[in-house]
């Protein structure tokens, strides 16, 4: 068991690192909305933000996993204080070390002293709140549209390169929830290391594109009947926002290898584990998500893809049936479930609404061109992680209702 605990620690460390590798699009200058409006939003906005924080898995690094009621200082995200940072969780980024920060509204150790606009700018542009003026920013390009000429970016593994594709409303909702509805919790987190340019050379628009994704379809996409275009576009947007390609390949829909799985490309500073993830003694290899029949998802039904995202059940080992329970042995949930290998973040994604998960499945099955790419099997324990994916480690499903003891009504 000890090694699996280590494996889990690895999981939570590495996931966001690779997620950062995604999203490379042509440079485009865009205008965002007015972040100040976020402060006027009401309860619905806060609840929307809470939902997004849970289903994006912010707590997988920043503490609490997907459980807003989580407290403590344990080794798993599931038993550490909700969003209060994890100084014990060092993320090796190249030769540097990053620490997940305290996201509670504590003035001194958390984000209490930053405005919601600064948090929005962090999520959309990756700009560190403490080193970036509290102004509206309208460009991805340093020196343009209030984007600082010498920007100071968030450290990898913070996956802002994925989150930035979210709508203004969603990013403002996240900021609103963090600022207004999470109780301040004092917990000092060491500064993350960074190169002298604060990653500016790694995240230039030339390398990672802007937050506007290329239009559908790119040369790697196509619309197959019977899927509807609106379903496809909805699923595609989620696939981009949630950074599937950070592990599964391609960076953005216009690039070679989009979602085609492990390709053996050389690791980079931003994505040091794209080849395979060491999870304790095991190796996880991101699968080919394109609809190729033998090497991808072609032979699996949308329902099997849905069951993978909602219940973490491997399509190749789980019957193509409707599953109605999280509990093994009940409601068609296999008695001996075989779960996706870490770091696949299904414990966070299972919290997405049915329609979102179905849309992702539809996009993967009907919105992509099949790519032949055989990915070697991931390794893992003989129980396929069944004893690891517990509520204690990953939080309950569904999450506890708002507000928990860690939260406050604005």
């Amino acid at each position: 068991m000890r090694s699996w605990s280590d494996a889990l620690r690895n999981l939570t460390q590495f996931l966001p690192v690779v997620a950062l590798a995604a999203c490379m699009a042509p440079a485009t200058t865009v205008t965002t909305g007015d972040p100040a409006q976020a402060t006027q939003s009401g309860m619905n906005q806060v609840l929307r933000g809470r939902q997004l924080v849970i289903q994006h898995g912010c707590g997988d690094c920043h503490g609490g996993a997907t459980n807003p009621a989580a407290q403590g200082d344990g080794p798993f995200p599931g038993n550490s204080q909700w969003l209060a940072g994890r100084p014990t969780d060092t993320l090796p980024v190249g030769g540097l070390v990053a620490f997940p920060r305290n996201l509670t509204a504590d003035e001194e150790t958390g984000i209490g002293r930053y405005s919601e606009r600064q948090i929005f700018n962090a999520l959309r542009y990756g700009l560190r709140p403490r080193a970036t003026p509290d102004v509206e920013i309208t460009s991805d390009v340093p020196g343009q549209g209030n984007h600082p000429a010498a920007p100071n970016y968030l450290s990898p593994a913070m996956p802002w390169l994925e989150f930035r594709h979210s709508s203004d409303e969603d990013l403002r909702a996240i900021a609103a929830y963090l600022k207004r509805a999470v109780r301040p919790f004092s917990k000092r987190i060491p500064d993350s290391g960074a190169p002298p340019d604060f990653w500016a050379s790694e995240v230039s628009v030339a390398k990672v594109g802007s937050h506007i994704s290329p239009a559908f379809p790119t040369s790697h996409e196509e619309l197959h009947a019977p899927a509807r275009r609106d379903q496809i576009l909805h699923g595609r947007r989620l696939v981009i926002e949630y950074g599937c390609s950070g592990c599964h390949g391609g960076g953005d829909p216009g690039r070679e290898g989009w979602l085609a799985g492990l390709r053996g490309q050389p690791p980079t500073v931003l994505a040091p584990y794209v080849i395979e993830f060491p999870i304790g003694p095991f190796k996880t290899r991101p699968r080919n998500l394109t609809p190729d029949n033998t090497t991808g998802m072609g032979r699996f039904s949308e329902r099997q893809v849905f069951n993978a995202l909602r219940f973490g059940l491997r399509p190749g080992e789980t019957p193509d049936v409707e599953i109605t329970s999280q509990i093994p042995g009940q409601g068609n949930h296999p008695a001996n479930p075989k779960y996706l290998a870490p770091p696949m973040p299904w414990p966070a994604w299972r919290n997405m609404p049915d329609a979102d998960l179905w849309a992702i499945a539809t996009y993967l099955k009907h919105g992509l061109k099949p790519v032949v790419n055989r990915v070697e099997d991931s390794e893992g324990p003989p129980d396929f992680w069944a004893s690891t994916y517990t509520a204690e480690n990953f939080g309950p499903y569904p999450p506890p209702p708002f507000p928990t003891a860690n939260e406050r009504v604005p």
Partner: protein
């Protein structure tokens, strides 16, 4: 290659042999390897002479019967007694019952046995024979007798659709069609319990002989039933609980044993003379172990598979034999008198990483081939062509179906006895594409009908052959063509890793 080429000459004049004579002779031939000591024959064995039908009571085997173990040589199961007086009819009795056998020297083990023996008696018949098997189930559980690979009527197939209750009887009756000569086997097939019952000892060989067998009748023939098992400290067979670590590993890999039996013997020694050619029929009766067969310092002349002989022999270094598959090959005594060679199963990685055994990469000895000290015998002529296998007509294909195999599932579904997965018309020709989507081998078995393998991963097979089981290695695809002749009914298709089959990796083909 060269020494085989010297041997393979056109073998003119196919022989028509006296089948009755051979039926008497053959068990004796099997019993006496050239250099083995005299055989001692116990239990219910008796020469297969014709005699009046006996009452069931007198045929009942002793529940404490013992498998015949011959020191150093192969154990030989008791023979079936053919009590039919009619030429061309083979009528035998078969009883499945608990027994206590000495599977390993010095320990007795509670098993299930056919006619008091494990493996059960070898059923030797010939093309055209009418076969009548009076079966009685003296087990405490329901069972069936499945005649693996035989093209016989649905209600005689011994599939899960026709269980025989404890204490119940069933008479299996079928006629062996022309062209069906080959090596087959029989075993139980109750739903969810096949692996357990086969593991408990229920399996036996079937040999169907042809009137015009192209191979010389003088070749010594050996039937090697490969099986493996696992034992607890007290000698009992070890079947782990499903929830345990071992149970989980078995559920994934299928239950493998650390003791490998060759027709009931462990590491037997077989005799051969320099220059001699022997005909070996090997059956993989293991629940999950795949054998990669090789004979040290020798090549094998592969002459046949599930549904009988190839069109022509192929010299190979090794033969991979999936679960349920058979191989027929010739062993030539190319080594010097007095030497010996190990017949082995080489490492074969059929496993997913999660449950791959730590010792998977070790070769295992199956038996020792011991050369007599006598002077070499003169090589004999072998045919370069064995028979013609007519190709099934691809232009007649009316359906192409995909069978997507994943762990414990076929096309994403688990077995449901009330569901028909595939419907086909009687007489229809179809192409089935068996795609293995996962990182573990799955041997795919179709009941009732022999098929012709077309290609693997798009690479055409080098020659036509009749198969009923095809091992589809991890992430590979195999295509076969099949014609659903003669017999309507509901036919099973399944993974022949028995734990997978029992877990639901099976479907139903209805031919009507």
């Amino acid at each position: 290659m060269s020494h085989w080429m010297q041997l393979i000459t056109t073998f003119a004049g196919a022989r028509v042999r006296d089948r009755c004579f051979l039926a008497v002779l053959l068990p004796a031939v099997l019993l006496v390897p050239a250099t083995a000591p005299a055989q001692h024959h116990h239990g219910t064995a008796s020469p297969p002479e014709r005699r009046a039908p006996a009452s069931p009571a007198t045929q009942r085997p002793s529940p404490t019967g013992k498998a015949v173990v011959t020191k150093g040589g192969l154990a030989t199961p008791p023979a079936f007694v053919n009590f039919s007086r009619t030429a061309g009819t083979v009528e035998v009795r078969l009883v499945a019952a608990p027994a206590s056998l000495t599977l390993r020297p010095g320990t007795s083990t509670d098993v299930y046995a056919y006619n008091g023996s494990s493996p059960g008696p070898t059923l030797e018949v010939k093309e055209g024979d009418r076969v009548i098997v009076h079966f009685r189930n003296d087990l405490p559980v329901e069972t069936t007798v499945h005649w693996h690979g035989l093209h016989i009527p649905f209600d005689q197939d011994g599939s899960p659709f026709h269980p025989v209750a404890p204490g119940g009887e069933h008479t299996y009756e079928f006629t062996l069609r022309p062209g069906s000569a080959g090596t087959y086997w029989y075993h139980p097939h109750p739903h969810h319990r096949t692996g357990y019952q086969v593991g408990m000892g229920l399996y036996g060989a079937i040999i169907v002989r042809a009137p015009d067998d192209p191979l010389p009748a003088t070749l010594q023939e050996r039937v090697l039933l490969l099986s493996d098992n696992r034992f607890a400290a007290d000698g009992a067979l070890d079947f782990p609980d499903p929830g345990t670590h071992a149970g989980r590993v078995d559920a994934e890999n299928g239950r493998e044993g650390d003791v490998i039996f060759v027709s009931g013997s462990v590491l037997p020694t077989l005799g051969i003379r320099s220059g001699e050619v022997q005909r070996w029929r090997v059956i993989n009766a293991s629940a999950a172990r795949v054998y990669r067969l090789a004979l040290e310092g020798h090549t094998l002349l592969h002459v046949g598979t599930d549904g009988g002989l190839f069109e022509h022999p192929v010299e190979v270094d090794e033969i991979v034999l999936g679960n349920g598959e058979r191989a027929e090959f010739l062993v030539r005594g190319t080594a010097k008198p007095g030497t010996s060679a190990k017949f082995q199963t080489l490492p074969y990685n059929r496993y997913i990483p999660q449950t791959r055994p730590g010792d998977w990469d070790k070769a295992r000895d199956l038996l020792t081939l011991q050369y007599a000290s006598a002077a070499p015998v003169q090589p004999i002529a072998l045919p370069s062509r064995l028979r013609a296998i007519p190709a099934l007509d691809t232009s007649a294909v009316t359906a192409r179906r995909v069978m997507a195999l994943s762990q414990h599932l076929i096309n994403g579904l688990s077995m449901d006895m009330g569901r028909v997965d595939v419907s086909a018309k009687l007489g229809a020709t179809e192409i089935w594409e068996v795609e293995n989507l996962v990182g573990m081998d799955h041997p795919f078995h179709l009941h009732g009908f022999q098929f012709q393998l077309l290609d693997r991963n798009g690479v055409p097979e080098k020659q036509r052959k009749w198969k009923d089981t095809v091992n589809v290695p991890k992430h590979q695809t195999a295509r076969f063509i099949v014609r659903f002749d003669n017999y309507p009914g509901k036919w099973m298709f399944h993974c022949h890793i028995l734990d997978h089959e029992d877990a639901g990796m099976m479907g139903v083909l209805e031919v009507k």
